[in-house]
């Protein structure tokens, strides 16, 4: 690993260095979220993290000068204003029919406005929530996509260093050339609170666009999620003795290696070897 990488990335916000921040153009795509328990409309969790990351990239003191928060859909949706309440002067809305496919107008808009970094959530909280929007945009624009971003560490000379969130809290460092699309993981820094006053004062910058209706989706049926059946432990035993064994056998009773009389150094060596074999010592 090169020495200029930070050795330890904690939960603390790390110092961010952008030498081209004044020119950097970040677009955060936002959607209308849905609270998982109450079902109420809200700002989507991952999308608000994308806005937060955008605010960090462009510098808060410019009050989001080169950050554009973009939404395609209904501009009268009240939860859109809660994004503006994070300290934005305006929210850009491409007004569309709710049944329309937003990819084409979004792609055109992104190409026209010359964005450097496009941030989205991984998956929407309403609708199909397939997580395909960033991929389809990337395919349409020919840009690289970095999925599940936890942080953007630096942008230097047109190359960004991005931290990807991996399972089990691990991080991977990826270098990518601008412009690119990134989907922001739930491991990204939490979004700041939304303030009601600025939210209601913010300007909704509406542009009416036309888009084709998403025909495929019209044929789908949507219903509240059914509870999924739990997988049962099926015992495929042919005789009574096997069934009895399966019912009474202890699942964890096989017992491992026990080291009793060795010296502490030998015992420690055995533990160390096992840790290395399992690959947890990195």
């Amino acid at each position: 690993m090169p020495s200029n990488l930070p050795e330890v990335i904690g939960m603390q916000p790390n110092q961010f260095n952008v030498d081209v921040a004044n020119k950097l153009k970040v677009v955060s795509l936002v959607s209308v979220g849905k609270h998982p328990q109450s079902g109420r409309m809200r700002r989507a969790d991952q999308d608000s993290r994308a806005v937060e990351l955008g605010l960090k990239l462009t510098g808060d003191n410019h009050s989001g000068e080169s950050l554009t928060v973009l939404h395609a859909g209904d501009p009268s949706e009240p939860s859109l204003r809660s994004y503006a309440g994070m300290g934005l002067k305006s929210v850009r809305v491409l007004q569309l029919d709710p049944a329309a496919d937003a990819i084409l107008p979004l792609g055109q808009h992104l190409q026209q406005c010359g964005a450097d970094i496009v941030l989205t959530g991984v998956r929407a909280e309403s609708g199909e929530s397939s997580g395909m929007v960033p991929y389809q945009l990337a395919e349409k624009l020919g840009w690289p996509i970095v999925p599940r971003v936890a942080d953007i560490v630096s942008v230097k000379g047109g190359v960004a260093e991005v931290l990807q969130a991996l399972p089990r809290g691990q991080r991977r460092s990826v270098m990518v050339r601008l412009p690119f699309i990134a989907s922001v993981d739930s491991a990204a820094p939490e979004a700041r609170q939304s303030a009601f006053g600025p939210a209601s004062r913010a300007l909704m910058d509406i542009e009416v666009v036309s888009a084709s209706v998403d025909d495929v989706r019209q044929a789908w049926e949507e219903a509240a999620a059914r509870k999924r059946p739990k997988r049962l432990k099926v015992v495929k035993a042919k005789t009574a003795a096997e069934r009895f064994k399966a019912a009474t056998a202890k699942s964890q009773g096989d017992g491992g290696k026990v080291m009793k009389n060795e010296s502490a150094a030998e015992q420690a060596q055995a533990i160390f070897d096992l840790l290395k074999e399992e690959g947890v010592l990195r």
């Binding site: 929407a124 395909m132 999620a225």
Partner: protein, 421 residues
């Protein structure tokens, strides 16, 4: 009258009866075998001779076979059945009409449970379609898996070249596009997981212009049910060509063996990658939440030198955990507690120091793969659960372990400098 009666009088032979009753009499055999046919009692009831049932076993004890000869092999195979390896029936597909391609995650080079579910789903889709199809698994990177056959793989495409190692979604996508044009699969199946299946599936869907079913959990060849709106709705739709399947979407294959014939792919052009993998970054292990940490060093009542414990966790790169006693005594914060009242952990490796294993604690570590115990009591529950148990003073063993880990780190940094130079 008397003559008439004399016909009906049953003449008994008391001596013959006596011999018949006495099994030890030398003439017993001849008397009993004389009436071999069915014997009826005075009321006309069919009588069985219990002495005639069964046979004398090899050690002189009478054995009665009540299974009527059905347990022919059972007696013999009893001892050897444990060692016997059951050969599952081989499922062969010659000249398949179509292919269903599965791209497993292969975390750590092995098929995950999720991957096996997806392969099971692929066989269900083949059963629902006409003609005989084969499951083609496309595996990237070095594979350590040895049981592709019992997992249900008919054809296996291993792409083990060095440019598939690490994080290279664009190169993998190029290979998948080549598979698409070479095999024209009926279905593409990906595990919808954070381990890369979802990413690769979305990339392929965008590239070949398919609209995928995501988080699909109930799939047949006509309709599929997927979770939508962040898992709060079910979308019922016709099954598309490309599916990203949720966990436990189908049962894994367990009753057949498959060929897992290796197949080759034409040379995939090397893609100029726009994403450059710089490797994993060292993460502060204590910033990872206990529930998802991979490696936990956990402390219990047997720890007396807490500074040493913390330094051991730091040098091993382990997330710290604790038993309830350690938390109650104030040595560790409450959010570090492992067990039924604390956090249920999923670590791959759990190193328990001085924890004897209350049942609440054992419940909390139920999902851990490898448990290592350091304890003074060889009879405690944690030692019974552990894959490796070390009986001795925890302070001495931790001290030696810290020394080993420090040596390892020193070597690692020296080696890293040499690599960089």
């Amino acid at each position: 009258m008397s003559a008439h009666n004399s016909h009906d009088v049953l003449r008994r032979d008391p001596r013959a009866e006596w011999i018949a009753r006495n099994r030890l009499h030398p003439l017993h055999g001849s008397v009993v075998s004389a009436d071999m046919g069915e014997v009826r009692g005075p009321t006309g009831l069919l009588r069985k001779n219990p002495h005639k049932v069964g046979f004398i076993g090899p050690n002189g004890i009478k054995r009665i076979d009540r299974l009527k000869g059905n347990a022919a092999g059972a007696g013999k195979g009893r001892r050897s059945s444990a060692a016997q390896d059951i050969q599952l029936p081989l499922h062969q597909v010659e000249n398949p009409d179509f292919y269903v391609v599965v791209v497993p995650d292969m975390v750590g080079g092995r098929l995950t449970a999720h991957d096996k579910d997806v392969i099971g789903q692929a066989h269900k889709l083949i059963a629902g379609a006409e003609g005989n199809g084969a499951v083609l698994a496309v595996c990237f990177g070095q594979s350590k898996e040895e049981h592709f056959d019992t997992a249900g793989v008919d054809r296996l495409l291993l792409l083990e070249d060095e440019y598939y190692e690490g994080y290279c979604p664009e190169q993998r996508l190029a290979a998948l596009v080549q598979v698409e044009s070479a095999y024209k699969p009926l279905f593409w199946l990906f595990p919808d997981s954070v381990n890369g299946g979802s990413d690769l599936g979305s990339r392929l869907a965008a590239r070949i212009g398919e609209r995928p079913a995501v988080q699909a959990w109930l799939v047949d060849s006509d309709t599929s049910v997927c979770r939508g709106a962040g898992g709060t709705t079910d979308i019922t739709r016709s099954t598309p060509r490309l599916l990203m399947l949720a966990e436990e979407c189908a049962d894994p294959i367990d009753e057949t063996r498959h060929e897992a014939l290796p197949v080759e792919l034409d040379l995939v052009p090397a893609v100029i990658a726009q994403l450059q993998d710089r490797g994993q970054v060292a993460v502060d292990p204590n910033a990872i939440s206990l529930a998802e940490a991979e490696f936990i060093l956990s402390a219990g009542n047997g720890i007396h030198n807490w500074d040493q414990f913390h330094s051991a966790a730091a040098v091993l790169g382990a997330t710290e955990g604790a038993s309830r006693v350690a938390v109650d005594d104030g040595f560790m914060p409450r959010f570090r507690q492992v067990g039924a009242t604390g956090t249920w952990v999923t670590a791959r490796v759990y190193l328990a120091v001085g924890i004897s294993g209350a049942i609440q604690h054992m419940q909390g570590i139920g999902q851990c793969d490898k448990v290592i115990a350091i304890n003074t009591d060889a009879g405690c529950d944690m030692v019974k659960r552990a894959a490796l148990s070390v009986i001795g003073d925890s302070e001495a063993i931790l001290g030696e372990l810290i020394k080993l880990a420090e040596d390892f780190r020193a070597q690692q940094s020296a080696g890293g400098d040499r690599d960089a130079a």
